[in-house]
């Protein structure tokens, strides 16, 4: 009985895995084909003519895609690091302590994910002008924190709500300094949460459009800005080429953190293993 049960779960797992991969990869195939097609019309299964024109344009100085790629990576990494620095203590406070007005604070942190961005973006723009942060890269990094922080903070709050501070007390009683305690006890325990939250933060920052355009004022040109230009104008070939470049970092990071994201890690299943 046990063996059969195991077989069934295994098959189920493979089928789910296959479905998931198909679902994730299938939409990318036409995108990849379009990027090397010169026209692709119904009912042709494959384009009749192939060309590297779209790639040539995407990699040219005129398109600015490569500059934008590096800039976007820098901005998203910086936004991720800042999200972690703010989100970890905030998540600890929300996850571990009860205090007055906690619900209000939780709601305010959640607000950017509930309120449509377009409704607040003009107000945010005005505030950033007053602060002298428009048209700068650091202004764009800061404004990206508005949509990234809710994810980071909520993931960390979940992690800390299952976290037992007695481990820290134990380390301290054994003579570890606060820094050592954090490094050897707290950090390893919350690492899966930092990785998952950081991944969210990176990808959310990676896909920002209107905030970047307004606060960056056209001086800060990230990949989504270039991609949407062509996506909205129906140029499937160039959209395909830029899109292929656009998804690279996401895939790279996903591969690197895959182990942490699997069911075996603490990030998904709470802290059962600690």
């Amino acid at each position: 009985m046990i063996g059969q049960d195991g077989l069934w779960t295994k098959t189920f797992r493979y089928i789910t895995c296959l479905l998931l991969v198909t679902w994730l990869v299938l939409p990318l195939i036409p995108l990849a084909i379009w990027s090397v097609a010169r026209g692709w019309f119904f009912p042709d299964i494959l384009p009749r003519m192939w060309t590297l024109d779209a790639w040539r344009y995407a990699l040219s100085d005129t398109s600015g895609v490569l500059d934008a790629l590096w800039l976007t990576i820098g901005i998203s990494l910086a936004a991720t690091v800042l999200s972690i620095l703010v989100g970890v203590p905030a998540g600890r406070a929300l996850g571990m302590y009860k205090f007055k007005g906690k619900e209000v604070i939780e709601l305010m942190i959640l607000a950017p994910t509930i309120v449509p961005g377009i409704a607040v973006v003009l107000g945010v723009h005005t505030v950033f002008i007053y602060l002298g942060l428009t048209n700068t890269v650091h202004g764009v990094i800061l404004v990206h924190l508005i949509p990234t922080l809710p994810y980071m903070t909520l993931v960390m709050a979940g992690i800390f709500s299952n976290y037992d501070p007695a481990f820290e007390a134990q380390a301290r009683s054994l003579g570890a300094s606060p820094l050592k305690t954090f490094w050897y006890v707290t950090l390893p325990a919350i690492m899966p949460g930092i990785i998952v939250g950081g991944l969210f933060a990176f990808l959310v920052s990676w896909s920002q459009y209107i905030l970047t355009l307004l606060v960056g004022g056209g001086r800060v040109v990230t990949l989504p800005l270039l991609l949407f230009n062509f996506a909205t104008s129906g140029r499937n070939d160039i959209t395909g080429a830029i899109g292929m470049i656009y998804i690279l970092p996401g895939i790279l990071i996903l591969t690197l953190t895959a182990k942490q994201l699997s069911g075996r890690s603490g990030a998904v299943g709470g802290f059962g293993r600690i």
């Binding site: 019309f41 004022g217 800005l225 230009n229």
Partner: protein, 410 residues
């Protein structure tokens, strides 16, 4: 003593150097009273940030490489072309800056603009005006032409300069149909005879809105009654007939008119995939570009309507708070030059019609323009120009768009 003063003068010059090189030219009034050579000197070594629709690789290449090259080589000006997918968002940047009190260090130096967006800029007093006479190439612009002097019925009043002209044109697939319908009444019959083969983008899409206006002109019995300020009575009369026509053809549209494409790009995709048989665009040269880049089947042919199509002009505008107005003026002057306009008219570059009056251009450059061979599948500009219809004032246009949404698109 003499040495000392020499050194002092040198030090003073050195200290001032960065300021003169990076001169802030936000004061438009001062520029309006300057000689052109002075403006060029002020602009030298600076930069200009041009925010414009960026969805075409050929247009981007023309602007960044050809125009940017001239600015760099002849004027030492850096052109920063910023592509946007919607010009309204640029208007919002300038609007937001004005509300926040940014009066002379805005982030936008130039916008490619017309119609609704220009009206917004004008109403909110966001445009730098009164400089056109300063530009040497302004002599090539025919300001006596009402189609140039009015941007969708709003007087330009020296607040922008023309870049290109465009005229609405239809196109069909010659492999599927022998002859296309060449007037609005014929088109309406054609739609009923070919169910599912036609649709149009839902207004307020720019191109879908123009298509609806063609039907509106037809229902009103001509455009003559619709010119000038918005008139509720005349609107109601023509609108009722228009909604009647559009609702009558709805069952014969693509997917029985249950839904409409929301953008011109979506309609072009439907056409490219042969789901519909007729496509249209405000930029007739787009047919040639789209065939060359593989978006359209090579059997696509653009054509004019015997009862005319609507034409417009698009412009470049300098926001009131641009800190680089001198460089923006130099850029506008380069754009207006006969050389740049003729280059832009080359079918493999862009193929769009000049914003300047080519009869004012003489010599070799005029000969090059006259010798341009248009893309064989693009409707000849003369065919279109023979029956050009004017655009309505923006107040009419928004009323028609709103009316369509309430009466047809519901």
């Amino acid at each position: 003593m003499r040495h000392l003063s020499k050194w002092a003068a040198l030090a003073a010059t050195a200290a001032m150097l960065p300021f003169t090189a990076m001169a802030d030219t936000a004061d438009g009034e001062a520029l309006n009273n300057m000689e052109w050579d002075e403006i060029v000197e002020l602009a030298r070594g600076g930069e200009v940030n041009w925010l414009m629709w960026g969805g075409s690789d050929t247009i981007n290449q023309y602007v960044s490489e050809y125009i940017g090259g001239i600015l760099e080589e002849e004027y030492d000006i850096t052109l920063n072309r910023v592509g946007v997918s919607d010009t309204a968002s640029v208007v919002n940047i300038v609007l937001g800056e004005r509300e926040a009190g940014v009066m002379d260090e805005g982030s936008v130096d130039m916008i490619w603009i017309n119609g609704e967006n220009f009206r917004t800029m004008q109403q909110a007093d966001l445009a730098y005006c009164g400089y056109t006479d300063v530009l040497p190439n302004n002599v090539l612009v025919d300001w006596d032409n009402p189609a140039i002097a009015n941007d969708f019925g709003v007087p330009v009043n020296g607040c922008e300069v023309p870049w290109s002209t465009a005229q609405f044109a239809f196109a069909y697939n010659t492999a599927l149909y022998d002859a296309p319908p060449t007037s609005i009444p014929e088109l309406l019959e054609w739609i009923e005879a070919n169910p599912g083969q036609f649709t149009y983008p839902a207004p307020p899409d720019f191109n879908g809105s123009v298509f609806v206006r063609h039907v509106f002109y037809h229902a009103a019995g001509g455009v003559e009654n619709l010119l000038g300020e918005f008139d509720q009575e005349r609107y109601d009369e023509a609108a009722a007939a228009t909604w009647q026509i559009l609702n009558d053809i709805e069952p014969y549209l693509w997917r029985e008119g249950e839904t409409y494409p929301t953008t011109i790009a979506a309609l072009e995709q439907l056409y490219a995939n042969q789901e519909v048989g007729i496509v249209f665009n405000y930029e007739p040269a787009g047919v040639g570009i789209n065939i060359e880049n593989g978006t359209f089947p090579p059997t696509t042919q653009g054509y004019a309507m015997t009862d005319g199509t609507i034409g417009n002009t698009n412009y470049t505008l300098i926001p009131f708070n641009s800190p680089n107005k001198a460089a923006a003026l130099v850029l506008q002057n380069v754009l207006l030059s006969a050389e740049a306009q003729v280059e832009k008219a080359q079918p493999d570059v862009w193929g769009t019609q000049p914003g300047i009056d080519m009869t004012r251009v003489e010599g070799e450059i005029r000969e090059i323009f006259d010798a341009i061979e248009r893309h064989p599948n693009v409707v000849p500009a003369e065919d279109l120009a023979a029956t050009a219809l004017p655009e309505l004032q923006a107040s009419w246009i928004s009323a028609i768009e709103q009316g369509w949404i309430e009466n047809v698109g519901n």
